[in-house]
């Protein structure tokens, strides 16, 4: 229960940060990506604020050894820069540039009730499920990947 409340609170904070930062306006995102046009550096300030706080915060949290409401920290174990990582990031970048939405701001923007945002999020879910489905097909013949 505590873990669920913590997630609700942190999700709320995350959404609030995205809104305050202007990240829920696709024009601001595309303005940042448009280096040959009227460049809008706002996203750079958001990344600077986010990474600074997280960098310092993580360094205070990890030495505690374990989280408050869970048995252990759940961190990614992969370390290799491989083809799925780079091709995936590249494909994501194309979609991000086309629409000006990444997953967080898209979910937050559902609150506007716009059908167009619902359309984007549903397509995103279909894209996610298709890769997950392909992975299950492949893992039937190959050794399982680490979670």
């Amino acid at each position: 229960m505590r873990e669920i409340l913590a997630a609700l609170l942190t999700g709320f904070l995350f959404g609030l940060g995205l809104c305050i930062a202007g990240m829920t306006d696709p024009a601001v995102i595309q303005g940042f990506l448009d280096i040959a046009g009227q460049w809008n550096p706002t996203l750079l300030f958001v990344m600077a604020g986010g990474v600074t706080v997280t960098f310092i915060g993580y360094r205070l949290v990890f030495p505690r050894g374990r989280p408050l409401f869970a048995a252990k920290f759940t961190l990614p174990t992969a370390s290799e820069i491989d083809w799925p990582l780079l091709s995936g990031a590249g494909i994501f970048g194309i979609g991000w540039g086309l629409a000006g939405y990444c997953p967080g701001p898209a979910v937050v923007s559902l609150a506007s009730g716009r059908g167009a945002v619902v359309l984007f999020v549903l397509s995103m879910l279909v894209g996610m499920m298709s890769v997950r489905w392909m992975r299950t097909q492949r893992s039937a013949t190959m050794p399982p990947e680490p979670a």
Partner: protein, 138 residues
């Protein structure tokens, strides 16, 4: 307030959220992963906190609008066909690449993960190439 200042403040709030989620639950605040593991096939067992996080995300602008009269959500800049195509690409890409702007861009970069730094450089570069092609070439 100037948009850059709001960006810095909003970014800091996002960072606080990421640090608190790690402090409480030991989890990376990566939105694509939080969503993806709710989906079939084989959704994760720990669905409750994931759903709660997403609910929090959606409640934020509603709360903001109640107190300030402005939810700060902008209108889509492209039509439905592009939104569908872009949504598919974002879903496929973030699942294949194991993260998005939050998980790789904020949390991973803060952990100095080489994978996340490589992913972030890649998606920003491809985003810039895409916008350049769409706005200045086609």
């Amino acid at each position: 307030m100037h948009p850059y200042v709001l960006g810095l403040i909003g970014g800091a709030v996002i960072g606080m959220s990421a640090v608190l989620l790690m402090t409480f639950s030991g989890r990376i605040a990566g939105i694509s992963g939080i969503i993806g593991n709710l989906l079939p096939p084989k959704p994760a067992d720990d669905r409750a906190w994931r759903a709660a996080f997403l609910l929090g995300l959606i409640l934020a602008p509603l709360c903001l609008a109640t107190f300030t009269g402005n939810n700060r959500i902008g209108a889509p800049t492209v039509g439905p066909a592009v939104l569908i195509g872009a949504g598919l690409l974002v879903g496929i890409g973030t699942t294949l690449g194991g993260g998005c702007t939050s998980g790789h861009g904020v949390c991973g970069v803060s952990r100095l993960s080489l994978r996340s730094i490589a992913a972030t450089v890649t998606f920003v570069a491809m985003g810039m190439v895409t916008v350049f092609l769409v706005r200045h070439v086609v």
